[in-house]
Amino acid sequence: MLSLILGFLLSVWIIKAGLIVPPVKIEQVGLGEGTRPYFPSKFGLPIQISEIDAVPLLQKNVQDHARNEEVILWLGNSQLFGVNQLQPGQVNSTELLFDSLKNKKFVTAFAIPNANLQEHDVVLQYLYDRFKFHQLIIPVFFDDLRETGLRDDLIRDDIKTKLQLDTPRSELTLSLLHQFEGSGESNGNEETKALNHTAQQKVEHYLSDKLSSHSSIWQNRADIRTNIIYNYLFSFRNTLLSISPDSKRKIIPARYRLNMEAFRQICIFCEKNDIKLLVYIPPIRNDVEQPYFPDEYTHFKEDLSVLRQQFGFSLLNLENIVPAGFWGLKGATTIGSSGLEIDFMHFKAEGHKILSDTILAVINKQTTL
């Protein structure tokens, strides 16, 4: 019994004293140390969002303030909202482009971390049902072609209905619908998902809220959980397998194929709805060796060129536009390392300015580099 009591007291002390994990906030964990999320707003409403639940706000902004303007939708991943070494007054590419195009075009953005093209395809159609846009800007990240499927907040009945209407069903649609079949119903609160439709749910919420108001440990559990996963489990994995940011990642063939099919669907959708399509191969650090196998990366760029010839969209290769000095660094991701590591994904505000200016120039000229 003594060891049990001692174990309990020690565990509370360890958590309370912050000995398990360094005091890092959740939003920093996914982006890496020094990189902060930035979501611009205009007219008191967002112009860039990262969750489907925020779409009504974006829709309202467009409907209220872009009645006679050409609307541009910029899809992306964390590169679009993550700003390294963000200083007061600095903004991201979306806001810079918005300000540059003011009074002519209305820029909106939807960026989700590690977004794959299947998600982009679904989000694009979902948004188009809510407000019309005339131009789409979309980066095709080689990294994100290793992802597949839809994340939880995209598992929605309206999205499922839309997919079911898609006939004949492609391999991609079947794959996405398969995911809907296997997903449970969401009650909006992931923390108590197992109590959905039970009398226990209210009691559990009440007890958890009460405990949170009296205990900082209970209140901060979400942060601690994320930190444990990132600081311990990921570091353990990275150490065990000697993974570093510049480790080469192999493509996963089936996922690559599905994502490229999703990209093709995006092209078809834009063609059908007369949406101008601007595709870019995103910036990547060019002062160190890239974390890809060169032949696979080259093949990927060739695939994009083939699609460009087929659909006639504007394709920009922006791999080298952001100089080495404007890229971010992130905290070490292996056990025992205390230094900083290269961040291949996020750059500083100066990098955002370069990206925005490049896109702006193309929009103004509507020419391909």
Partner: protein, 489 residues
């Protein structure tokens, strides 16, 4: 009520002291009422349904006990079984049967279909039905005498630690203990707390964190999966269900022990079994022994031993190798098919049962030919093969339908599907690590723990470190994000 929740912990904080403050009949009343409250936290309206069959069975059991006429006794037993299975079939299988009939009708082009029904499955119905059936059958067999009052019997059927997902206990395992005036024991109480902590650690620390990987994998299009991915998913789900269900059993054992009541173990390192038969002596022990005594032996026309005074020792030890294989073929497959169907109203579960029956049969056929081989080597080979096939059997258990099962097994049979990987690397790493952890835990339990436990200081330090770690994980990860997998059965 779900064990992995604050509500359950608060429930225990209220019930356990009350239990020890009361005595005699008061304790039984408390357990009975607490168990109904426990169930009501899921759906209050289903409490009445849950009470129906045990109430009727209780009176029928008394009629059986009082009657000297064998045919009357038999008639009452049959009535009870029809009633129990009737309700189980209505709530659990009617939709399944109607869908199967409709599918069959469509295949043959018949102009016939049963309208779609939307029946809510009362949680735990398979478990409390087995409890009450074992009671009436054992009364009929003369192994037990029905308790004098319904509350004692109700405590056996509804006892909250085992109400919704077992272990499936025999009357003799619980009622004797409930009727005995138990005195508070610090050792029992501490053991109970340790088992609850251990169970919560397995559930919220391991099973719930494996779950999303398994869900992602099974939700991924099969076209994108390689054969190695399917093996990995089979192993991952095998680990998930093991940690999940053994966690539930551990919390159930611990909760009962807080009241001084001893439950038998339900798991014993099943993935270290070196034959399919050994696996079922280590996995869900209370179910396999229940099936043996109430299904397999009667189907085989064999006499069932009186186990009234013994625990459900588990497994299928009476599936004797000495018997004729042909003779046991039908009972074996029938038993396992029903056992599969007991798990869920889906052909995938029936297939899972038949898969295991085939493993048991294959083992019986092969073993006589291996007698001349080195037995240590054969045990190792047996372990490897059992592990692979048992893990493979989890695919129908987890897959949503037989079409998916067919596609997944089909992938495994084509050598071309072994040449690539279709998932992120983490999942392979986790599956490998979990296998290593399970093996190390077994070796630790077998070879190291005895050494530690005899040295007081070392034991104290080891336990304190382990409990600190377990408490940290439980405090940080405790939240009812996922039900116990066996709740759906």
């Amino acid at each position: 009520m779900i064990f992995n929740s604050l509500t359950y912990l608060l429930f225990l904080v209220i019930i356990i002291p009350l239990y020890w403050m009361l005595s005699g009949k008061g304790r039984q009343w408390l357990i009975f009422i607490a168990s109904l409250i426990f169930y009501g936290f899921w759906r209050v309206e289903f409490i009445l349904i849950m009470l129906i069959t045990p109430l009727i069975d209780y009176f029928l059991a008394h009629r059986i006990a009082k009657s000297d006429n064998q045919s009357t006794r038999k008639r009452i037993l049959v009535l009870s079984i029809i009633l129990n299975l009737g309700l189980l079939v209505y709530f659990k299988y009617l939709m399944f049967f109607s869908q199967s009939v409709n599918s069959l009708s469509a295949v043959f082009g018949w102009d016939f279909s049963i309208p779609h029904m939307n029946i809510i499955l009362p949680i735990g119905i398979s478990f409390y039905t087995f409890h009450t059936m074992s009671f009436i059958i054992d009364t009929y067999r003369g192994f037990v005498k029905p308790p004098k009052d319904f509350i004692t019997y109700g405590c056996y059927v509804f006892f909250f630690p085992q109400l919704v997902a077992g272990p499936i206990l025999r009357v003799g395992e619980v009622i004797n203990q409930l009727e005995t005036e138990r005195r508070f024991s610090l050792a029992d109480f501490t053991y109970g707390l340790k088992r609850i902590l251990f169970g919560l650690f397995l559930k919220v620390g391991i099973a719930d964190n494996i779950g999303p990987f398994v869900d992602d994998g099974f939700n991924q299009s099969i076209l994108t999966l390689s054969a190695i991915d399917i093996w990995t998913l089979a192993f991952m789900f095998g680990f998930q269900i093991y940690f999940d269900f053994s966690a539930y059993s551990s919390i159930a054992i611990g909760s009962a022990r807080l009241m001084g009541i001893v439950f038998p173990e339900n798991f014993n390192f099943p993935y270290l079994a070196n034959s399919p038969r050994a696996f079922w002596k280590r996995w869900h022990i209370s179910l396999s022994s229940w099936i043996r005594d109430y299904l397999y032996l009667p189907l085989s026309g064999k006499k069932v031993r009186d186990r009234y005074n013994s625990n459900s020792e588990g497994g299928l030890p009476t599936f004797r190798d000495t018997e004729s294989i042909a003779h046991s073929f039908l009972p074996l497959f029938l038993t396992w098919g029903i056992m599969g169907l007991w798990h869920g109203a889906n052909w995938t579960f029936v297939f899972w049962g038949i898969f295991h029956a085939s493993l048991v049969l294959a083992h019986r056929v092969i073993v006589p030919f291996t007698k001349t081989f080195n037995q240590r080597f054969m045990q190792f080979v047996g372990w490897g093969l059992t592990l692979l096939f048992v893990m493979l059997s989890w695919i129908p258990f987890r897959a949503p339908n037989m079409s998916v099962v067919k596609q997944m097994y089909g992938k495994l049979l084509n050598y071309r599907n072994y040449g690539f990987l279709g998932m992120r690397e983490n999942i392979y790493l986790i599956a490998g690590l979990l296998l290593v952890v399970v093996i190390l835990a077994y070796l630790f339990d077998k070879y190291v723990w005895n050494y530690i436990k005899e040295r007081l200081y070392l034991r104290f330090v080891s336990e304190t470190v382990a409990y600190t770690f377990a408490f940290i994980v439980v405090i940080v990860f405790l939240r009812p994000v996922a039900q116990f997998i066996y709740f759906q059965f």
